[in-house]
């Protein structure tokens, strides 16, 4: 029984996509939902983070859509560990802070504290329209609307919710300072 799985796995195609560093049209179709919007290089700092990046996610008032997509990054399809990413429960171990959702007042102190606990060099990724501008909820009572004034944002990824391929591109951008380009795809990205 067990050996049959070996044979089956040898014959089957791997589930994991090469996207975003290799062209993959199947996965690319989701990436239309948004694009890596802006890259604030001044907040990125000089020293680079190499490919072993621990991510701490903070939900500051999301609809759990961004969480749902983030949890799919560990799935065999997107498998972000191939780039050296991993989630960590502890901000002190994190290199990258991913903030999702509108920024509610009770969460401001929490975000600041998590950010302060991270060692340098560190980056901040604002994930989704809510974290960037407040989206549909910017007029809600107790909602700040943008992560920008709370901590220094390195990269923002648009989308509601941003699809996993977009999040992957955003994560790689936060490390490298530039949007990853698929090998052999030229400047088309």
């Amino acid at each position: 029984m067990y050996y049959w799985h070996w044979v089956k796995n040898l014959l089957a195609k791997p589930l994991t996509t090469g996207y975003p560093t290799e062209p993959d049209r199947e996965v690319r179709r989701f990436a239309q939902s948004g694009s890596v919007a802006r890259i604030e290089t001044q907040a990125m700092g000089r020293s680079s983070i190499q490919r072993s990046c621990a991510i701490r996610q903070v939900d500051a008032g999301s609809c759990n859509g961004c969480e749902s997509e983030l949890s799919l990054l560990v799935s065999p399809i997107y498998d972000f560990t191939r780039y050296g990413f991993s989630y960590t429960p502890v901000p002190k171990h994190a290199d990258l802070l991913v903030v999702t959702g509108v920024i509610t007042e009770p969460m401001v102190a929490v975000i600041k504290q998590a950010y302060a606990q991270m060692g340098t060099p560190k980056r901040v990724l604002a994930l989704g329209d809510c974290a960037i501008s407040g989206g549909w909820f910017k007029d809600a009572p107790g909602v700040l609307g943008s992560l920008d004034g709370v901590v220094a944002v390195s990269v923002s990824v648009q989308g509601c919710p941003p699809a996993p391929p977009d999040i992957l591109r955003g994560l790689l951008t936060a490390l490298d300072g530039e949007v990853p380009r698929a090998v052999g795809e030229g400047d088309r990205d």
Binding site: D59, C63, N64, L72, V74, V110, W136, P161, A163
Partner: protein
């Protein structure tokens, strides 16, 4: 058709008589669907599974102040709804309706956990009090991420309000859009084309599949089994991909609108697209079955779930949990069969019910419902002519007549359980009031008693994952 239509309304001006009527109806088997603080008072909408009838108990403003809290009299279905109602109806005179208790004593240690916790998780704060390994008490504190959706919707047009309620909980986007649309259709007296009804049934079940697959993935992860976790995540991604191919959004946002359905960024799918989706989902179905067979033969998984996180009988009677959580604890309440809406009366499914109320029962119910939803979707896709509507690309309104009532109510079975909406519309179609009951705002009050019930600290992640409720749907 999913909507309540006419409900017997009884009005009370004293709180005690209102609460007595509520408690009495509850004893007679009525289910509380929605507790809603609105301008003219505080109302409880109830449903009787045997007769299929609805009644609404309305408490009008009064100035009697010797008021016990409903949850102190054993009515625990609407603790969060009542604390929302107090914000709008100060004459109720309750200070914060949910009182927190903690345990003091020698040897009690308190673990604070949250709001930043876990790998990827929503913001909620747990305070675990343990004596050695035993959990003696858990308090769950929410309210870190309130977006005040009910308040924001007031005075907006229904199309704006739809966009807001769809973002209440994205893993239940369809359920929120559907309940809202049914309520608006109930208010205006609109009826919907049969194709739209079938498409709505299809998307509702697709969403249940994605949600349950995600829940099962986190349950597998909590017991330290990455292989089934990855397999369930692959199934979830497969369903989300089908959603995107058919309707242009991975979480089916914008598909259901009052009056019909539409595909926001493309034309509605045709038979060949449905046939392709059916092929993809058939392979997903096989995958789901084989993962489940594997898990059912894995003692390290089953042993961790059996007898873990049992919902105490008193809590079950107090909160009356809904959805898969309720069905795992001996409450056979499923909106799809209790009052058939959409096309559920033409589909074969048997909501599973277990009485144990432990993490294993919740796993079995979710796995079984996932399989049944797959079977239902494959059955729907067998008849693409029932779904396709010629070349139409937009909403499929049928006859539109404007009713006088302008108040609509609807309740449905969301992936996490019973969800109810009550809308009051102004003449120009703007919302005067919106009452929402989400399954999570009710079921969250089961979590703490189930955790602090003969469990040890190491059980906590498993129990947490076996509930997998939405914090966004609780905070609102």
């Amino acid at each position: 058709m999913g909507v309540v239509g006419r409900a017997d309304e009884q009005t009370f001006d004293g709180l005690t008589s209102w609460m007595d009527a509520w408690a009495k109806a509850r004893e007679q088997g009525w289910e509380t669907i929605l507790v809603d603080g609105r301008k003219d008072g505080l109302s409880t909408l109830m449903f009787h599974p045997a007769g299929g009838s609805h009644q609404e108990l309305l408490l009008t403003p009064s100035d009697s102040f010797t008021i016990p809290l409903p949850q102190d009299s054993g009515l625990g279905e609407a603790i969060w709804s009542l604390s929302l109602a107090v914000e709008d109806l100060p004459w109720l005179g309750w200070d914060h309706p949910y009182r927190d208790r903690s345990v003091l004593g020698k040897g009690i240690f308190t673990y604070p956990l949250g709001p930043v916790r876990g790998d990827v998780s929503e913001s909620v704060f747990y305070r675990l009090q343990v004596m050695g390994d035993d959990i003696v008490r858990l308090t769950v504190e929410n309210g870190f991420k309130r977006r005040h959706i009910r308040q924001l919707c007031r005075g907006r047009s229904w199309s704006d309000a739809l966009a807001l309620v769809e973002r209440m909980t994205t893993t239940s986007t369809v359920a929120h859009a559907l309940a809202f649309s049914l309520a608006v259709e109930d208010a205006f007296g609109w009826s919907v084309a049969p194709q739209a009804t079938w498409i709505r049934t299809l998307v509702a079940e697709l969403e249940r599949m994605a949600s349950h697959a995600g829940d099962l993935a986190s349950l597998a992860a909590s017991t330290g089994l990455p292989v089934p976790q990855m397999e369930y995540l692959a199934v979830k991604e497969l369903v989300l991909g089908v959603n995107f191919d058919l309707f242009g959004h991975r979480y089916l946002r914008g598909v259901i609108v009052p009056g019909g359905v539409r595909a926001p960024s493309q034309r509605l799918p045709q038979s060949e697209e449905y046939a392709k989706a059916q092929r993809t989902l058939s392979s997903g179905f096989n995958q789901v079955q084989s993962v489940r067979q594997g898990l059912d033969r894995t003692p390290s998984f089953l042993d961790r779930l059996h007898g873990t996180g049992i919902i105490p009988a008193q809590t079950r009677e107090f909160v009356r949990p809904v959805g898969p959580i309720g069905r795992s604890a001996g409450r056979p309440m499923d909106g799809r069969s209790a009052h058939p809406y959409l096309a559920y009366d033409q589909l074969e499914f048997h909501p599973p019910v277990l009485s144990e109320g432990d993490a294993f029962a919740r796993y079995v119910i979710k796995a079984e419902e996932l399989a049944q939803s797959f079977a239902m979707v494959l059955e729907i896709l067998k008849w693409p002519e029932r779904l396709s509507a010629g070349t139409e690309s937009e909403a499929m309104h049928s006859e539109v007549r404007v009713s006088e009532r302008r108040t609509g109510r609807a309740w449905i079975e969301a992936p996490r359980g019973l969800m109810a909406y009550r809308v009051e519309l102004a003449e120009d179609g703007k919302l005067n009031h919106l009452g929402i009951a989400t399954p999570s705002q009710r079921n969250w009050y089961v979590v703490a008693p189930a955790v602090a019930h003969q469990n040890i600290l190491q059980d906590f992640p498993i129990i947490d994952a076996s509930f997998n409720l939405s914090v966004a749907g609780w905070d609102g």
